[in-house]
C-alpha cells in the first residue's frame, strides 16, 4: 500500500528515510519523523479499533495524549509487548509491529459490532451491571467474557527483555512543556544561570510551534524553535528531556518524569541503553506550560472515522504532511477552527464548508476566510454524520443565538472529513495533582489551574492564554520569576515579536442540538473510549446521579487510558445543562497521577529480580553453599535452613542434625543475630530501664538473658546481653528485630532520658558468630582455643571470655539456646570463614554437624525457649509466657513494661498462657496456627481456647512436640484439648510443661 494521503512537500518528516511497519497484520510504510498515527493516516487507514461497548469502528481523532481511539498493542515478540500505546505518541521505527487492542477477528470485520449496532439502544449506562447482576455467583463468569469482548490491550506473557532505570534529580526550575510558553520560560530561567530541566512528552521539542503558520521575530516559528533549542543545548545548566512526560506532581514539588529513551528506536532498546527512565525530581520551582487540549463538538455519529478535532488536522497537515481525506467540513464555535480549513486549503484539498456557530462573527479570521474564497456558513453547526467506516456526508443545522436549539432542518453536505472545535481545555492535570481545584473562566470557556500551595507557576494556554504573543510573554515572565525566587537574576530576555491574526470572542457550544431529543437522535459520543454518550449522561442525571463524581462513576466517563482528556469538559457541560446548572456549579472531577499510562518497567526500574531487595549474607556463606544448604529468608538475611545430604528428605536431615547435636556436637551460623554495642557511664542504668529484668549486679564477664517489652507490657524482643566492662555492654537481639531495637533504644535515650550518658552502635555485621553446641563442644574448642580455661568451674554457664582461637582474637559466650553445653564464638567477620573451616577440620572426629534455623527451632522448642515474633505476637506479656522470673519487680525505676503489664486486662484471670502440648498420637505434628477447643462436638462457631505457635517432630524425644497458648493454661496441666483441622480431622492433645527435655538443666551445666 502506498502513502496515498501523504503530501508531496512540507512537514517535518524525512522522505529520504522510509520505515516499514505492520498494523493488524498488514505492511505499511512511513517516514522518519512520523508518529504511528500520522503514518497510519498517510496510508489511508481509517479504522484503528473498535469501541469498548458497542464495537463501533473507530479512527484517529486527535494528534496527542488526548487520542481516545488509536490505543494499540505494540511489540514484535512476546517479551516486548506493550499494551495501550497511543499511536499519536509513538514514533514509527523500522520493523514496528502494532495490533488493535480490540476487534475480532479484525477491526474491519468485527463480530461484536453486530451486537452494538442492533442492540446498542438497549445498552444504557450500567447495562452490564443491570443485566448480569443475577445470580450474583455468576458475575465472575460473566465478567471474564464481557472483558474479553471489550478488550483494551493485554500484558506480556514473557519477561521484559529490556532494562529500565530511575534517576534522582534536583532542579531550580522545572519547565513542563516545550511549546512557546515553555521555551520562553526555559530560555529566561536558563539565562539567569539557574539549573533548568525542560521536559516535553513529544518526540520533538517545540509543541504547537512545530505546526504553526505564525512568524516569530520575522522568521518561521520552527526557525525560532531551533534557535532557542540550540542556545539551551549549549547551556551546562540546562537539561532537555524530549519524549519525557511529567506524569505526577506530588508533595513539596516532587515530580516524576517518564522518559522514553529507546521506544522510538526499535522493538528492543539498543545494547547498553535502558529503554525507559523514571526521573524522580525535586524542583524548587515548577513552571507549568502544559498547553491545552482542543474540545471537539458533540454531534450525532461523531465517532465515524474521518471526524477529527480541528487542531489535530492542522498538526497532521503541517507537521507530518498528511491530509487524511479529500473534502472537509469544518464546524467551529471560535476562530481556532478556521486554521484547519486554511491549512487544508493550502494543502490543495477541498473545503466544502467552514461552519461557524456564531451568528455574525466579524474579525481578521473571517476576513481571511472570505479572502480565500471559502464557503463560510454562520449560525450553524454540524449535527449528524453519515457513514460507518468513513464519513460520507455531514449534516449542518441552523442554531439559535446561544446554540441551545436547532432552528431549522438538516442540510447534508458531501464530504469525507469533519473537523470540529468547541474551544480549548487547559491541561490542568498536573496542577490538580497538587490538590488545586480547577477554576472556571467564562471568558475562555474553560477551567484553569486553581491556586496551588506548591511553588508553581503557569504560563500560556494552560493559564487560558491562547494567543502566541501572550504565550511567549507569560513564558518569559514565569521563567524569570521562578529563577529569581530560586535566587538567580541578571537575565535579559526580550519577548519575541509575533505577527498573528487577532481573535474575536468564542461561543460556548459543547453538544450541538439535534432536531430530535438526544435519546432519539443518533449517538452523540462524549467519551469515545468508554462509549459514553450525551444521552447516557442525561439518563444518569435523570436516574438521580447529581454529583459529577457520581455521573463519572455511573457512566464510566473519563475512566479510560485517556482519562477524559478529550471528553470530560463536554460531559460536564452536558450534565450541567441536564441538571439546569452552570458548569462551575456542576464542577469538575479531579485528575490524579499519572497523566498518561506508565509502564511497570519504568515504575520498577532496576528494583527487580536480583535487585528487588538487598540480600544479606554472613561471612560463612560460601561454605554453606558448597555444603548444599537450603536457605531461608529472615528479613533481608539469607540463613541456612537445613543441610540435606544427597537423597535426604527435609525431615531426615533435621532428624540427623538434631541427633548429632544432642549426641556429639553441632554448629549454627548465628551471625545474623542483632548486636548492639552499648557504652557510657549510664549504660547499665539504661539497660535496666529497657529490659524487664534486673541488670544492676551483672559483673564484667557475665551474660544475662533479657526480655524487652513495650509500654503496654507486651514482649517484643529478647536476647542475651553481656557485660564487657563496667560501662560497656553487648546486646543481642532477634535477627529481624535488630534495626527496630536500635531505634527503640535511641528513641528512649533521645526523647525521655537524654540526661543518661549512653551511646549505641550496631555491630551486627562486625562479628561472625558460631554456636557450637553438644556434649563434645568443650573438647572440640579446647583443641583450638589456647588462652581460655574451658573447664566447667572456671568458665561457667552464662560467662563470657576474651581469647584467641587459631590465632584470631575472639569472644566466647557460654550461653545455650539448645539446652546443651554450648559456646558462641565471635570473631571479627572477615575471619569468620577461616575459623568455621578450622572448626570443621578439627570437628570431623566428633562428627561436627552443621545445622540450620529449622533444627535450631526444634532444639529450642524441646527446651521451651520462645522465639519472639513466633511465640509472641504483641499481645503476650512475660507472665503469660511463664517468664515472670524475668521481671525485676524490685527494680527502683519503673522500667518499660512494668506499668503496662499491671493494666486491668493484663492481670485478669483466664488470659491465654504459654504451655507445651503433646498430641495423644506422638506421630501427628500439629499444624502451626491451629486453634484449640474444649469440645470438638460443640456447634460452630466453636469457643476457641488458643492457638499453636510452634510445632515440630523431635527425633531425640521420638515424638511430636508443640508450644502454644491456652486460656488459663498454666493451671490446666494434664488437661486434654482438641484441635479441629481444616481437613476434618480432630487432633487430641495434652497440656504440659513447655520444657520437654532436661527440666533441671543438667545437660548444659557440665
Amino acid at each position: 500500500m502506498t502513502q496515498i494521503n501523504r503530501l508531496q512537500t512540507g512537514g517535518r518528516i524525512d522522505r529520504s528515510k522510509p520505515l516499514a511497519f505492520r498494523f493488524d497484520g498488514k505492511s505499511y510504510q512511513g517516514y522518519q519523523g512520523d508518529t504511528l498515527a500520522s503514518a497510519l493516516l498517510a496510508n489511508g487507514v481509517d479504522v484503528v479499533g473498535r469501541s469498548f461497548k458497542y464495537s463501533r469502528p473507530r479512527g484517529i481523532m486527535a494528534a496527542g495524549a488526548d487520542e481516545p481511539n488509536a490505543v494499540l498493542q505494540l511489540g514484535a515478540t512476546e517479551a516486548t509487548q506493550i499494551p495501550n500505546v497511543r499511536a499519536t505518541q509513538q514514533a514509527v521505527y523500522d520493523g514496528l509491529e502494532a495490533q488493535p487492542t480490540n476487534g475480532w477477528p479484525n477491526v474491519n470485520l468485527d463480530a461484536m459490532g453486530f451486537v452494538g449496532r442492533w442492540f446498542g439502544r438497549f445498552m444504557p449506562p450500567g447495562f452490564y451491571y443491570k443485566t448480569f447482576m443475577y445470580p450474583q455467583s455468576l458475575w465472575m463468569f460473566y465478567e471474564k467474557h464481557i472483558r474479553r469482548a471489550a478488550g483494551l490491550g493485554r500484558s506480556p506473557r514473557a519477561p521484559d527483555a529490556d532494562q529500565y532505570d530511575h534517576i534522582n534529580q534536583h532542579a531550580d526550575v522545572l519547565v513542563v512543556g516545550a511549546g512557546p510558553a515553555g521555551l520562553g520560560a526555559a530560555l529566561a530561567a536558563a539565562r539567569t544561570g539557574a539549573r533548568v530541566i525542560l521536559a516535553d512528552e513529544q518526540e520533538e521539542l517545540g509543541g504547537s510551534l512545530l505546526d504553526s503558520a505564525a512568524q516569530i521575530d520575522g522568521e518561521a516559528a520552527s526557525v525560532w524553535v531551533t534557535r532557542v533549542l540550540n542556545e539551551l543545548a549549549d547551556c551546562e545548566n540546562v537539561q532537555l528531556l524530549p519524549r519525557s512526560t511529567v506524569n505526577g506532581y506530588h508533595d513539596h514539588n516532587f515530580l516524576t518524569i517518564h522518559e522514553r529513551r529507546a521506544d522510538h528506536l526499535g522493538d528492543r532498546a539498543p545494547d547498553g541503553m535502558t529503554r525507559q527512565r523514571l526521573h524522580r525530581l525535586r524542583a524548587r520551582w515548577v513552571v507549568l506550560a502544559t498547553g491545552a487540549h482542543e474540545r471537539p463538538l458533540v454531534y450525532g455519529n461523531n465517532d465515524v472515522p474521518g471526524c477529527f478535532v480541528a487542531a489535530a488536522l492542522s498538526t497532521y497537515l503541517r507537521r507530518y504532511a498528511v491530509a487524511p481525506g479529500h473534502s472537509l467540513v469544518v464546524s467551529t464555535a471560535n476562530d481556532y477552527g478556521y486554521r484547519a480549513a486554511f491549512d487544508w486549503q493550502d494543502a490543495g484539498h477541498e473545503v466544502v464548508a467552514l461552519v461557524d456557530s456564531r451568528a455574525n462573527p466579524q474579525g481578521a479570521w473571517q476576513d481571511e476566510a472570505r479572502k480565500r474564497g471559502l464557503r463560510l456558513i454562520t449560525g450553524a453547526a454540524v449535527t449528524d454524520v453519515r457513514g460507518s467506516k468513513r464519513v460520507k456526508a455531514a449534516a449542518i443545522v441552523p442554531l439559535n443565538e446561544d446554540g441551545t436549539q436547532a432552528t431549522g432542518s438538516l442540510q447534508w453536505l458531501t464530504c469525507d472529513t469533519v473537523a470540529t472545535s468547541g474551544g480549548w481545555s487547559p491541561a490542568v492535570h498536573l496542577s490538580c495533582h497538587t490538590g488545586a481545584r480547577p477554576q472556571w473562566r467564562d471568558d475562555i470557556i474553560g477551567f484553569v489551574p486553581g491556586k496551588s500551595r506548591e511553588q508553581m507557576l503557569t504560563a500560556g494556554a494552560v493559564a487560558g492564554s491562547y494567543s502566541l504573543t501572550d504565550c511567549l510573554k507569560e513564558g518569559v515572565a514565569a521563567g524569570l520569576k521562578a529563577a529569581t525566587d530560586a535566587g538567580f537574576s541578571g537575565a535579559d530576555v526580550p519577548v519575541p515579536t509575533v505577527s498573528e491574526l487577532a481573535e474575536t470572542a468564542p461561543m460556548a457550544l459543547f453538544a450541538v442540538p439535534h432536531p430530535k431529543p438526544s435519546s432519539r437522535a443518533p449517538k452523540q459520543f462524549v467519551d469515545y473510549q468508554n462509549d459514553v454518550t450525551a444521552a447516557g449522561i442525561e439518563l444518569a442525571t435523570r436516574e438521580g446521579f447529581e454529583s459529577i463524581e457520581h455521573v463519572k462513576r455511573y457512566t464510566a466517563m473519563g475512566f479510560g487510558t485517556d482519562q477524559g482528556k478529550l471528553g470530560n469538559i463536554n460531559g460536564m457541560a452536558i450534565a450541567a445543562r441536564s441538571l439546569g446548572q452552570t458548569i462551575p456549579e456542576t464542577g469538575t472531577t479531579v485528575f490524579r497521577p499519572n497523566y498518561t499510562p506508565v509502564t511497570f518497567g519504568a515504575i520498577a526500574g532496576r528494583h527487580c529480580r536480583d535487585l528487588f531487595e538487598p540480600k544479606r549474607f554472613t561471612a560463612m556463606q560460601p561454605w554453606h553453599e558448597q555444603h548444599g544448604a537450603e536457605f531461608e529468608n529472615v528479613g533481608q538475611w539469607k540463613r541456612p535452613w537445613y543441610y540435606p545430604k544427597p537423597g535426604e528428605s527435609m525431615q531426615e536431615a533435621l532428624n540427623r542434625e538434631c541427633l548429632a547435636t544432642r549426641e556429639s556436637v553441632g554448629i549454627l551460623d548465628a551471625s545474623t543475630l542483632g548486636k548492639i554495642d552499648i557504652q557510657g557511664k549510664d549504660a547499665r542504668e539504661f539497660i535496666g530501664r529497657i529490659y524487664s529484668n534486673a541488670w544492676a549486679k551483672l559483673a564484667p564477664g557475665k551474660c544475662r538473658y533479657g526480655l524487652m517489652c513495650g509500654e503496654d507490657g507486651m514482649v517484643f524482643d529478647d536476647g542475651v546481653t553481656s557485660c564487657l566492662g563496667e560501662n560497656h555492654f553487648l546486646m543481642t537481639t532477634t535477627t529481624g528485630g535488630a534495626a527496630g531495637v536500635l531505634e527503640w533504644l535511641e528513641l528512649y535515650h533521645q526523647t525521655e532520658w537524654p540526661e543518661l550518658e549512653v551511646y549505641f552502635n550496631s555491630v551486627t555485621d562486625h562479628w561472625a558468630t558460631m554456636g557450637v553446641a553438644g556434649p563434645n563442644s568443650r573438647k572440640l574448642l579446647a583443641e583450638l582455643i589456647e588462652d581460655i580455661d574451658l573447664d566447667g568451674e572456671a568458665f561457667r554457664f552464662m560467662d563470657w571470655r576474651q581469647g584467641t582461637i587459631c590465632g584470631v582474637p575472639c569472644r566466647v559466650f557460654r550461653i545455650s539456646f539448645t539446652g546443651e553445653l554450648q559456646y558462641e564464638i565471635n570473631v571479627p567477620a572477615h575471619y569468620g570463614l577461616y575459623i568455621w573451616e578450622r572448626l570443621f577440620e578439627h570437628g570431623e572426629k566428633y562428627n561436627l554437624t552443621p545445622y540450620g534455623t529449622e533444627t535450631m527451632h526444634i532444639l529450642r522448642a524441646e527446651k521451651g525457649f520462645i522465639i519472639a515474633g513466633q511465640d509472641t505476637d504483641g499481645s503476650v506479656h512475660p507472665y503469660d509466657l511463664g517468664m515472670g522470673w524475668a521481671v525485676g519487680e524490685n527494680k527502683p525505676f519503673s522500667f518499660i513494661g512494668r506499668r503496662g503489664m499491671k493494666r486491668e486486662d493484663c492481670v485478669r484471670p483466664n488470659r491465654k498462657q504459654f504451655v507445651g502440648l503433646k498430641t495423644k498420637d506422638p506421630n501427628i505434628v500439629l499444624p502451626e496456627g491451629v486453634h484449640a477447643v474444649a469440645d470438638p462436638n460443640q456447634p460452630k462457631p466453636m469457643a476457641m481456647l488458643g492457638h499453636v505457635t510452634s510445632s515440630y517432630y523431635s527425633a531425640f524425644l521420638g515424638r511430636s512436640i508443640a508450644l502454644g497458648f491456652i486460656k488459663g493454661g498454666h493451671e490446666r496441666m494434664g488437661d486434654t484439648v482438641y484441635y479441629p483441622l481444616e481437613d476434618g480431622r480432630v487432633v487430641e492433645a495434652e497440656i504440659c510443661s513447655t520444657i520437654f527435655l532436661d527440666p533441671k538443666g543438667e545437660r548444659q551445666n557440665v
Partner: protein, 93 residues
Amino acid sequence: MFYIYCPYCEEYREEEEFHPKGEAHIARPEDPDNCTDEEWGDYLFFRKNPRGVHHELWVHAAGCRKFFNVTRDTQSYRIYESYKIGEQPSVSA
C-alpha cells in the same frame, strides 16, 4: 513525598531517609506506677489526629539517627518547621 529539614544535619533530605514516629510531645509520665489505668491508657493509646496543624515526631533513620519534631499540616501536607527534641514549636493550631 515529603522534603524534610533535619535540624541536626541542617539540610533538607528526602522522606525516604526518615521514619515517622507519631505525635510529638507525648511525655512518659513521671511516676508510671501511680498512674490510674485511665491515665496510663491515655499515654499509651490516645492521640490527637487533627485535621490541620500537627506536631509530629520523626527520626532521621537513614541519616544521623536523631529524633526531632516537625510541625505539619495534615491536610495540605505543608511542613512549617522542624525543631529539636526539647524545643517548643513556633507554629501551633
